[in-house]
């Protein structure tokens, strides 16, 4: 597992869990562009969707799921803004999961990628080539102070 952390300009960065050193989000470009996903949705639309998700109330899905922590959603919005600023291809979709976390999902013929934002300052990028039973995992960290 690699870790990605905050750059000087962005709030989010790649964190290396072994060294605890961070590197810029622009290193994600190659990882996310690798499968040449062609999202029809732009980052501003995804950010609008996140703002809508931020207003979810308990039982928003009809299955009893609790609303999301607004700070977590704000963290995801900051991440989307950073990814957009770095020129990372937009995700195909952003959605709230069943366990009060948020997912950005990229679909392409070569593989699937997702970023799960699980707290306001922690996220993971998982890359799954088509048919693979193994994911490459990168940790993202947000500087909050």
């Amino acid at each position: 597992m690699s870790t990605i952390a905050p750059s000087a300009r962005r709030s989010w960065a790649i964190l290396n869990p072994n060294s605890q050193r961070t590197s810029s989000l622009d290193e994600l470009d190659a990882l996310i562009s690798e499968f040449q996903s062609s999202s029809m949705i732009e980052w501003p639309e995804l950010i609008d969707e996140l703002r809508r998700i931020r207003n979810y109330r308990d039982d928003w899905d009809g299955e009893g799921t609790e609303s999301l922590d607004p700070e977590l959603v704000d963290g995801a919005i900051a991440l989307a803004q950073d990814l957009n600023a770095e020129g990372i291809p937009s995700a195909n979709r952003v959605l709230a999961g069943v366990n009060r976390t948020l997912y950005f999902e990229w679909y392409a013929t070569g593989g699937y990628r997702e970023i799960e934002v699980s707290t306001l300052d922690h996220a993971e990028l998982r890359i799954v080539p088509t048919g693979s039973k193994v994911a490459d995992v990168f940790v993202l960290h947000r500087r909050t102070s």
Binding site: M1, D61, L95, V98, V128
Partner: protein, 144 residues
């Protein structure tokens, strides 16, 4: 039609209900943790229903209030794939619908601790589901 007490055969198909918001996403197979108001947490594993035990696939919508049926799709997964992925299915009778089984390897607490290992399996299940749609949520399309 099989009795739900019969062992699960490798050539059976398993049905899963997928709410609209998780349609066509690996989230459709993500185990749900126990929450204060969560109605059906996946404590023992995510739920499927054996198609061979049902009169009609839409029988699995029975636990859902009728006014919400349109928000749910149904996909089918071959038991052979479940086995190929190193998973299993256990009988867990449910008075509401016949043929209820759970996949114990995909229960909430295990998934939460092993997302990097189990995540790819959810991706494969989602890709298989995409090719085996029984019923789409109404707001996406009509019943196949």
């Amino acid at each position: 039609m099989k009795a739900e007490s019969e062992p699960i055969a490798d050539d059976e198909w398993l049905l899963r209900r997928v709410p609209l918001q998780y349609w066509d996403s690996p989230r459709a197979f993500e185990p749900r943790l126990l929450g204060k108001n969560v109605r059906d947490p996946d404590i023992s594993g995510i739920s499927f229903y054996r198609e061979s035990c049902l009169t009609h696939p839409e029988d699995i919508l029975a636990p859902v209030p009728p006014e919400k049926w349109g928000n749910n799709g149904i996909v089918r997964i071959p038991m052979a794939l479940v086995i190929e992925l190193g998973l299993s299915a256990q009988l867990e009778p449910d008075a509401r619908v016949k043929g209820h089984v759970v996949i114990p390897e995909l229960r909430a607490e295990i998934h939460a601790a092993n997302k990097s290992h189990l995540g790819p399996l959810l991706v494969i299940l989602a890709a298989t589901a995409r090719e085996n749609v029984v019923r789409r949520p109404n707001s996406i399309g009509t019943v196949d």
